[in-house]
Point group: C2
Chain length 408, copies 2
């Protein structure tokens, strides 16, 4: 069943991968239009999910994330439309001729079939389908059970829209069985799935990394730090920290830990406490001597709270800060606040992370903010893609070599 | 023990990764010089390996691959020297400024620590160390037990040479324990090893893919095909096939299977038989009716012989050829011989492989032949790197974002 679904995705991916930019953009427009035209179907399905969720006593926040309204579906359609305007990642290629006359072209090509395993929010269904379609990849979507009816309805609408422009509807596939067994099976579809992108919490990512035999891009684990260097501008420090921590604590680019140089700790920590009044502070012993805070455990410094909680530590030196971050961080986004160029350079050169910030909020690690137009996720691994993954990162390449009988 | 070794490699990698192009090139020159100056030490160690190999009744071919002579060590030193002239892959970076004033620099950086697990030939020790050093990566080498004394001697000479220019000798590390347990432990050094590249036969690659939890680049599995299209130039077809199969059958870019369009099979197969007189032909039933050949099993078409054996099949159409290759191939190098542009285009667009050839030998899939100067291996996966992996493919990137207090 799952094998059959992946096989038909693979078959569709060959046609999709060789289709023109125009045809793929026409398909995206059809997808956006269909979402709006058939929102009745989608909302009806969403209502079933909402009823089930209420019966299961889901939290208000989760219920809100699950709910689709006319306005939300229109916003989803708009974000599909925005993908049309992005440059075609498959248009890039470079060629060279070798002394023996063979011509080598390095050609951007889609991966083929991309599988995405994600959690509650049904908007991911349309966003992921749009980015995969634009980059020439067939997509196999496996969303969470909470949104299964919404996801099935939306994927059906999207697949049918793709078909109206002459591409196979199997370009957009949805796994209707939300059991863990089927998810595990999907992770092992070697030969059918070319790339698997998990989008969700730590336990989902962990399970995928442990079980997958298909290539995976790890996304979203963000234990991000802000370090106040001894030469930090005080107002800037507090303002950037406040934004990094509080503007949206539930996302992966939010800051979880603050490190403060000992020389400025006494002056700055009370200001931090004041600015982050609604944040629970868990500090090391030195922090607790300066401000009123709970004592942090070592575990705190490894934790991605995704909440109004901040771990704080006083460090003796820039080197200690770097060492702490490289030990406790997840390679996502790390920030130094400093007026000293040498400290900034040392920080940028030795911190091992996708994005390293000097005097700017970690919250900028985002495809839109980086100017990529959209993203399928934030990679925290070093292979293939790092940081915000745009359309180019959803492609690979092949070499096409043409000759007139050359031998070696 | 292995953890300690990987830890010191990581520590060394930070200094190496931030060293100048000049310093890394000076280190390479010192490495090349040291290999020649201390060849006595290396040859003495190699003699122990040779004695052990003889006692174990190793084949003559294997013994030859294992043997180091003055001339061979000089050739190894020359290939280290050649890496000096290659462009520094870390020199590439691009920057842009966003409307809010933050400057984003996408900076090429080393992976950090690259582990290489390889089989018999001791020249890999120096080649891999040179490419890793040039690309700013510390290397953890784990060669086969047959060459362990040679490898230890060479790694010692190389590490000491690196130290003479002021870089840590731990940039070049060798695993002295050649047990399978230690190899398996190396594959799971998450947090210490950033990339693992296996270089060797099918069973080594398989074992790495199945066991590794660190990121891996699969290399070297090459079940390559040549397809004679109905519009093939006959002489070119036979000449390219002969070169693809016979010029060096033991390497991964050698061809293992020939597919022939039914319309030209009767004319071309006798010529193939004549040209490849020293090759054992295993054909499908239709082949066996035309020329004298053993009957091929389905297994034959999945086999990478690395020997003077060729599986041959008659196909009814280009589509059948493409389907056969995408089913049986390993995504390495695939070739069509045709005078028809439409057939060539269809072949190139739908074959899923690192390198697709039109009228040229599969033997060109090689870093030198592609113009990359050197390669660490031929990737047969789609993530990160595909085909010959040069210095650029041994690096990743990070984003360095600088601002003056921007928040979101």
């Amino acid at each position: 069943m799952l094998t059959q679904l992946c096989k038909s995705a693979r078959k569709a991916s060959v046609l999709l991968g060789n289709s023109s930019t125009d045809l793929r953009n026409t398909a995206l427009q059809a997808m956006a239009n269909a979402l709006v035209e058939k929102q009745g179907e989608i909302i009806a399905a969403n209502n079933i999910d909402i009823e089930n969720a209420k019966a299961n006593g889901i939290s208000t926040a989760m219920l809100d994330r699950l709910t689709l309204t006319e306005a939300r579906i229109e916003a989803i359609a708009k974000s599909v439309e925005k993908v049309i305007a992005l440059p075609d990642p498959l248009a890039k290629s470079e060629s060279w001729v070798r002394p023996n006359g063979i011509k080598i072209t390095k050609k951007r090509v889609p991966f083929g079939v991309i599988a995405i395993i994600y959690e509650a929010r049904p908007n991911v269904t349309a966003d992921a389908a749009a980015l995969c379609l634009k980059s020439g990849n067939a997509v196999v979507l496996r969303g969470g059970k909470e949104a299964i009816n919404s996801n099935i309805a939306m994927a059906k609408v999207l697949g049918e829209a793709v078909e109206t422009v002459g591409l196979p509807k199997e370009c957009v596939q949805i796994v209707t069985d939300t059991s863990r067994e089927t998810a595990n099976q999907l992770m092992k579809m070697k030969g059918y799935v070319d790339l698997l992108i998990p989008r969700g919490g730590k336990s989902l990512i962990r399970s995928v990394v442990d079980n997958a035999t298909v290539p995976v891009i790890e996304t979203g684990a963000g234990n991000c730090h802000v370090y106040f260097d001894k030469y930090a501008d005080e107002d800037m420090a507090v303002s950037v920290l406040n934004n990094s921590k509080c503007s949206r604590p539930s996302v992966c680019n939010a800051t979880e830990s603050l490190l403060v140089h000992k020389d400025i700790a006494e002056k700055l920590l009370p200001k931090v406490k004041e600015s982050l009044a609604n944040v629970e502070i868990r500090g090391c012993e030195r922090v607790c001597k300066i401000i009123d805070a709970a004592l942090a455990t070592d575990e705190d410094f490894y934790t991605e709270y995704n909440d109004y909680i901040l771990a704080v530590k006083v460090v003796d030196s820039l080197e200690e800060a770097i060492d702490h971050i490289n030990t406790h961080g997840t390679g996502h986004s790390e920030c130094i606040i400093t007026g000293c160029d040498i400290a900034a350079e040392q920080f940028c050169n030795t911190i091992d992370a996708a994005a390293v910030y000097v005097n700017a909020s970690t919250r900028f690690t985002d495809g839109e903010e980086f100017g990529f137009g959209a993203e399928i996720g934030i990679s925290t691994q070093k292979m293939h893609a790092r940081g915000p993954m745009g359309l180019t990162e959803m492609t690979t390449y092949k070499y096409v070599v043409t000759g007139d009988g050359q031998v070696r």
